[in-house]
């Protein structure tokens, strides 16, 4: 298998880890960690597919940089939401925070 396939399979592995964690975790912080894993996989796939093909190099690298910026913004906002949820409910268990359940 070529190196590009290996890089993409690694990115896919990160996506699978993230999906597994996101569905199996019970705390909001654990779910945040899983989302960060998935975003890392996206960045890795972006950079690999522009570094190792004829595509324009800057697109992939700057795309990965934008993904990192979005991840930082998302982590900040999730931290604030977790703190508010904890203050109001005394727990960050995702099953306790289900007012909108039908």
């Amino acid at each position: 298998m070529s190196p590009l396939v290996w890089y993409h399979l690694t990115a896919l592995l990160l996506l699978s880890f993230g999906l597994f964690g996101l569905t199996s975790r019970k705390t909001l912080v654990g779910m945040l960690i899983s989302v960060e894993l998935m975003l890392n996989g996206a960045g890795l796939a972006l950079v690999a597919s522009t570094r190792l093909t004829a595509a324009l190099d800057a697109v992939g690298q700057l795309g990965a940089l934008l993904v990192m910026g979005l991840a930082a913004a998302e982590a900040t906002l999730v931290l604030a939401i977790i703190l508010v949820v904890f203050k109001r409910l005394g727990t960050t268990d995702s099953e306790a925070v289900s007012f909108l359940r039908g």
């Binding site: 890089y7 597994f20 912080v29 960060e36 690298q61 906002l77």
Partner: protein, 175 residues
């Protein structure tokens, strides 16, 4: 294969090991601090892969932003959500843990199998590694064709920070 190629594959294997071990710790550990340490290990593995693709700028940004900033934020989130009487950052177990684990495994495996088959069959041929892109080229690209996304990401970051501060104030006012 030449000596350098062997070394490259060895480095790739090392980074892959870091990513797999860290990822497993991140999603399976009951202790959230351990799972954060696993995430940091994975982040370093991904940074190593960026170095291997000779994209050192992105690798250093990965370490700076993720390891330096995002993991500290997650650490604060773990520290500040200690349940009264309980220890910080431990996930309790529920009676439905096995069912939950199996469903999560199915959720993870479905895209992995489908996308994995597509990747193995359809990925184009790998070209020899291009020379490293200069930082000035990246900067010109960021302020030229990518100018709109550059401005938008700053707006998104500002809104996120302002929203976080707002949520913090709202919490204090309601007491």
């Amino acid at each position: 294969m030449s000596m350098m190629e062997y070394l490259a594959y060895a480095a790739f294997g090392l980074y892959l090991f870091l990513i797999v071990a860290g990822g497993l710790a991140a999603v399976l550990s009951k202790n959230l601090i351990r799972s954060l340490v696993g995430l940091i290990m994975t982040l370093f593995g991904v940074a190593g892969m960026y170095f291997l693709m000779s994209a050192p700028f992105i690798a250093l940004m990965q370490i700076l932003i993720y390891v330096g900033a995002v993991s500290v934020l997650i650490f604060f989130a773990i520290m500040l959500t200690r349940a009264p009487g309980g220890e910080s950052g431990i996930e309790g177990s529920t009676p439905k843990a096995l069912k939950r684990g199996l469903l999560a495994l199915a959720t993870a495996l479905m895209p992995a199998v489908i996308l994995g088959a597509i990747i193995i069959r359809k990925t184009p041929e790998t070209l020899p590694l291009k020379p490293e892109t200069a930082l000035t080229v990246l900067g010109e690209f960021l302020t030229g064709p990518f100018a709109l996304s550059f401005e938008l990401i700053s707006v998104v970051l500002f809104v996120a920070m302002a929203g976080a501060v707002l949520l913090g104030f709202e919490r204090r006012k309601s007491e």
